[in-house]
Symmetry: C2
């Protein structure tokens, strides 16, 4: 499985993903799911991918081939010169529609063989980015090729194993969050998911894209033993345990009930 | 949907459930999903139910009918005098097996008609309880009729919409938790789920069963406006927000970075 999350904040975008890929429980490996395209200085696209790894990899390869061929007068025999690429779209929603069409084409090519084997070609994507002169934006591209956009009311989008990490987003995400707080929130959401579900795991990747910069300000890849991830996980775990034992007592409990005598030492249980 | 959780603690059992039932989004109602059977002073059974409401209600009715008929020399024409009831099982696992069989019988009776209509007869249960002289125990009864048991390594069991509320359990649940802390943990897990998923909602019911008492010590039904639920939700939300803004800074942030200037007022957003 996979868990990816994108935040649409007033100050810009935060895009984050885990790196675990598994086919069954005995073939577990690590792949980056965060991909950056900057085909020209006036446009930046960050793509998060979940679903069939074969589909998502071929989609990324086709996107790059389209860019190469648009710049090359002698196109590959495998494809006509592409009409739409990330270089010539004029709006971010056109990029989302284009990626949805590429994804559908890949799924259609391999879908019937996969379904006969009981497998699915489906894949979904989160596209964040900005084209100079326009607002930055965030889209969730469904495996059916259509897309929805984040908004101030719903400033985050998720794909993959999204439920475990949603409560933290629901409590804390809002458009006024700073980019650095947004990055921390994504890491908290990722770390909580990885704790509850083995198919989501570090390294966690985070890309921070300040509004109107048309460039990443920071790109992080945090492994299990990175001091930054350990520090955030330890602080979050300790604070949550403290918050829990500080909850109001029931009416039947004496006011001075001590907190649980046998609180386990949580400081050693990172993530 | 539904969310139910049971905790198997050294000091006893905590059983909790929400009360929302929905058929689509335009038929939403409230039903208790926490049911107590005490057919004799030496045995207590608490049953949490998720899945098809028609199935779970008929299962509960059949369990009660079996108890009535076992005590009645003139059984109803609808059923032979039952061989197994909650009154004559000698072990808690026998009660789980019996309930699984009743559930399968109900599902088999209505399944084909339901499946033709695109609906499912499936239901799952959490059974907690104790028979005098034996240890208290906690079982998850699958819709296929088989069951698994909680253990010190996995002291909680969930049915229904379980993912949103799992991270809090994974962080905090352990067998040494007090019963009152266990009840608070169930409420935190329920409230977090209800915040992220509209198909889970108060009133939340909680039953506390101290070990070897063979009786409930407390049974709570907490509505949205109950001071206890509001107090726990508010405290948890405020603590989590504080914990978030107290997380360690990234290396590129100045050490004295102020916490986000525009922190929204969370004290008004209960649950």
């Amino acid at each position: 499985m996979t868990y990816c999350v994108g935040l649409l904040l007033d100050q810009g975008l935060v895009m984050a993903s885990d790196s675990r890929t598994n086919a069954g429980v005995d073939y577990i490996s690590s792949y980056s799911k965060l991909h950056v395209f900057q085909p020209a200085p006036d446009r930046l696209f960050v793509l998060l991918a979940a679903g069939s790894l074969a589909t998502t990899q071929e989609v990324l390869n086709r996107i790059q081939r389209d860019l190469d061929q648009a710049a090359n007068p002698n196109p590959s025999p495998y494809q006509q010169s592409p009409r739409v690429t990330l270089l010539n779209v004029n709006y971010l929603f056109e990029a989302a529609t284009y990626i949805g069409q590429v994804s559908l084409a890949v799924q259609n090519e391999h879908g019937s063989a996969l379904r006969q084997a009981g497998a699915s070609p489906e894949a979904s994507f989160i596209l964040g980015g900005q084209i100079a002169g326009q607002a930055h934006g965030l889209f969730l591209i469904y495996s059916q090729g259509n897309a929805i956009e984040a908004s101030p009311e719903t400033p985050y989008l998720q794909i993959g194993e999204s439920k475990y990490g949603k409560p933290a987003l629901d409590r804390i995400a809002y458009p006024g969050l700073s980019l650095d707080d947004g990055a921390r929130l994504c890491l908290v959401s990722l770390a909580g998911t990885a704790r509850s579900n083995l198919t989501v795991a570090p390294p966690f990747e985070v890309a921070i894209c300040p509004r109107d910069k048309i460039a990443l300000s920071y790109r992080l890849k945090l492994d299990d033993d990175s001091p930054e991830l350990q520090g955030i996980s330890r602080s979050w775990n300790e604070s949550l345990t403290r918050a829990f034992y500080g909850l109001p007592r029931f009416t039947w409990e004496p006011v001075d009930t001590p907190t649980n005598a046998a609180v386990p030492n949580t400081s050693t249980t990172a993530t």
